[in-house]
């Protein structure tokens, strides 16, 4: 016993927690929205998601080999990027599109910055805006829910932008996801179930999602109609990628502020930018750009929102 005692600095115990445990829990929390996507848009949604995940994980693996670093494909983080990218795609895209997007997400969005923990921007959103800029036609053609012959349909936000109204679309329909849109963004119910898992586990806090959604709602209520204070804020909460973005992408640890105070600012910023793009921008939807812009502002926010240290003013 005398010579083989382990000596290390304190503390000597560790919380049963790991990156893999957090990441796989996030994957689990995304499953309800994935199932909803397949029910609403059919099996093509499943193929798109699986291909994106496969491409993301493969790219992560190849980079691990090339950079001679630890192979991190089992920690679940690349899987999340694949799923989130797929959730930001229409179900009827050609099957090479999710592959190209996922490779771009991991390679350019994550690995060139140094891999896990180093990316400035949310990798899945980097992939999405790349696809959006390169193949806008595929990215903005959506199918009608539950249609066998892939009838195309506009998203509620796109219809609004063009001044049209989708008839017979109630708030309940929006809540359940019975309308055109990206695979993982339409079913609010399923997304909230997943969000609840993450909130209960303490893996995300309320600060960013609540301020993000509230700010978007407030801003669209004030400015969203021809007269002030007449906007359909509930419509804006329930349509597009706001819920998916607020709970699952604006809460990405790596690219968001560390302190509660910083997260509140981040959430408000995302909400403002989303509302501005939706109401006056060139795109019907602004969630992806809003989050990416605020990701870029994160180091700046971190600098000015340090916690107060005990015993100081």
């Amino acid at each position: 016993m005398k010579n083989n005692l382990l000596v290390s600095g304190s503390p000597h115990i560790h919380k049963p927690e790991s990156i893999a445990r957090i990441m796989w829990t996030v994957v689990l929390s995304l499953v309800p929205a994935g199932i909803a996507g397949v029910i609403i848009f059919g099996l093509s949604a499943l193929w798109v998601t699986l291909l994106a995940v496969l491409a993301a994980v493969s790219t992560e693996f190849v980079f691990g080999l090339l950079t001679k670093k630890k192979i991190t494909i089992l920690d679940g983080s690349a899987v999340i990027t694949g799923i989130l990218l797929a959730f930001n795609l229409p179900s009827n895209v050609p099957l090479w599109l999710p592959v190209v997007g996922a490779v771009f997400s991991i390679a350019i969005g994550k690995q060139v910055f140094g891999g896990l923990g180093q990316n400035i921007f949310n990798p899945a959103l980097v992939g999405r805006v790349f696809l959006m800029a390169s193949w806008p036609k595929y990215m903005t053609t959506f199918v009608k829910p539950f249609s066998i012959d892939a009838v195309t349909s506009a998203t509620p936000l796109a219809a609004l932008k063009e001044g049209k109204i989708i008839e017979h679309l109630s708030y309940l329909d929006l809540f359940l996801g019975k309308h055109g849109g990206c695979i993982g963004e339409v079913c609010i119910l399923a997304l909230l179930i997943g969000a609840a898992i993450l909130l209960i586990k303490g893996y995300i806090s309320w600060h960013i999602p609540v301020t993000y959604i509230f700010t978007t709602a407030l801003f669209t209520y004030i400015f969203g109609a021809k007269t002030l204070f007449a906007g359909d804020w509930l419509f804006h909460i329930l349509s597009g990628g706001l819920i998916l973005g607020a709970f699952f992408m604006a809460t990405d640890y790596v690219a968001t502020p560390l302190t509660a105070q910083g997260q509140l600012i981040f959430g408000v910023g995302c909400g403002l930018l989303t509302a501005i793009i939706r109401l006056w921008g060139g795109y019907p939807e602004g969630v992806a750009y809003a989050i990416l812009m605020m990701n870029g502002a994160t180091p700046f926010i971190d600098r000015y929102t340090k916690n107060r240290i005990y015993g100081t003013k």
Binding site: L5, S10, H12, G117
Partner: protein, 422 residues
């Protein structure tokens, strides 16, 4: 503040017993914060139990006493639980020597003690803060300004440790007398005892005294930290660089109070203390009265048989305790626990990159951002670590504990603290 797995069930209901008196004790010349003592005995000298054997003429120091009667056989370098190695006086026991009985003294005499006299007794008895910091107690009994609040620290927040909890239950009346004595000498009327809600017996025991306000605290770590205790009892913070004195507050640990009682009421210097000997390796974990200087291997033997060989031995608790490299190391004044971890518990986890999850930021009880200090420290950006307040770290270990990437945050913060004073 975080909730930890307590693991106090091994020993919290185990009544304390006396550990066998060792054949030899190894008494390091430094067991306190301050100046190292000089031996005042020579090799070959016969010493009685409680005889002063080392001291130094310095304000911040504390004398050392013989914890067994016998003969001084060596004054040599020896393993030290905190410093690695230090000079120690080795005494070989001799049962032939008459032992003092440490009889109870006359109460009337004690009731007339002045603060000055109390301070002299406490200094002469070698009493230091037994909560772990080992700061000489006589200095804390010399406030630069009048005090109005005495807080007794019964918040033993380290997992596994139950020595203070047992002491509060088994020696309630003695501790109460000690508290009242200290309060009277200091002229303090407001007395709080902070105890966490995982120690219902101790809470019950002290509620019967109308003189004390028992504050039931949450069983969160580090509730027993001086700053946290004051904050959670009085709702006040000690300003940066200030002391509890500046709020008119004195904090004393229950074990220290018990030592003061023993010194004043029974003329007994600090020669033994209660130690929780525990961990999954032990068949029979115990709370032991241990003579200072007892090698830990004697205690492990006494708690035998072992279920498995320990892979890591810690003196203190699992959050702030110190891993030992040998079982020859002795128990000293600050050693409240002896922890034996098996191979699985001792396993070092691999470090992953920081994912900025901010668990450490939320967990830090003093409001630091450990992950940021860590990143700056890795690049040796010591000005930046200073800006992030590294010097305010209380080294509780929560940041390491909660980090999903198993990053050694505390180690780099400690380094930043050292660099900060260069």
């Amino acid at each position: 503040m975080v909730r930890l797995a307590e693991n106090k069930h091994f020993t919290e209901d185990v009544e304390s017993v006396k550990a066998p008196i060792p054949a030899r004790v190894y008494l390091p010349l430094i067991q306190h914060l301050g100046k190292i003592c000089n031996p005042i005995v020579k090799i070959g000298d016969v010493v009685t139990l409680g005889q002063k054997i080392a001291e130094i003429d310095a304000h911040v120091s504390s004398p050392i006493h013989a914890s067994i009667a016998g003969k001084v056989v060596a004054i040599q370098d020896w393993p030290h639980p905190v410093l690695g190695r230090a000079k120690a006086i080795v005494i070989e026991g001799d049962t032939e020597i008459n032992l003092p009985s440490f009889q109870l003294k006359n109460h009337q005499e004690i009731d007339l003690l002045s603060l000055e006299q109390l301070r002299k007794i406490v200094f002469a008895a070698g009493i230091v803060g037994l909560g772990g910091a080992s700061f000489p107690t006589h200095i804390k009994l010399n406030p630069p300004q009048p005090l109005n609040i005495l807080i007794i620290n019964g918040a033993e927040c380290e997992p596994y440790l139950t020595a203070d909890a047992r002491l509060m239950v088994e020696k309630t009346d003695q501790i109460a007398q000690g508290i009242l004595l200290v309060a009277r000498c200091l002229g303090v009327k407001d007395i709080y005892i902070g105890i966490e809600d995982n120690k219902p017996l101790a809470i019950e025991a002290f509620k019967k005294f109308p003189e004390f306000k028992v504050k039931v605290l949450k069983s969160d770590y580090p509730q027993g930290g001086e700053k946290q205790l004051i904050q959670n009892i009085l709702g006040k913070e000690i300003g940066r660089g200030k002391l509890p004195f500046d709020l008119g507050v004195l904090v004393q640990n229950v074990a220290t109070i018990y030592a003061i009682y023993e010194a004043v009421y029974r003329s007994k210097p600090l020669i033994e203390r209660l130690v929780t000997v525990t961990g999954s390796c032990l068949e029979h974990p115990k709370n032991l009265w241990v003579r200072l200087g007892t090698p830990i291997k004697n205690l492990i033997e006494f708690c035998a048989p072992l279920k498995e060989a320990p892979a890591k031995i810690i003196i203190g608790g699992p959050m702030m305790g110190i891993a030992q490299y040998t079982d020859e190391v002795p128990i000293i004044k600050s050693s409240g626990g002896l922890l034996l971890f098996n191979k699985k518990e001792a396993q070092l986890l691999e470090e992953d990159p920081c994912i900025r999850c901010a668990a450490c930021v939320r967990g830090c009880p003093v409001g630091l951002m450990p992950c940021q200090i860590n990143l700056a420290a890795e690049k040796s950006l010591w000005n930046l670590t200073k800006d992030y307040g590294a010097s305010d770290c209380i080294e509780c270990g929560i940041c390491n504990y909660v980090c999903p990437s198993n990053r050694r945050l505390l180690q780099t913060i400690k380094q930043a603290k050292l660099e900060g004073v260069k």
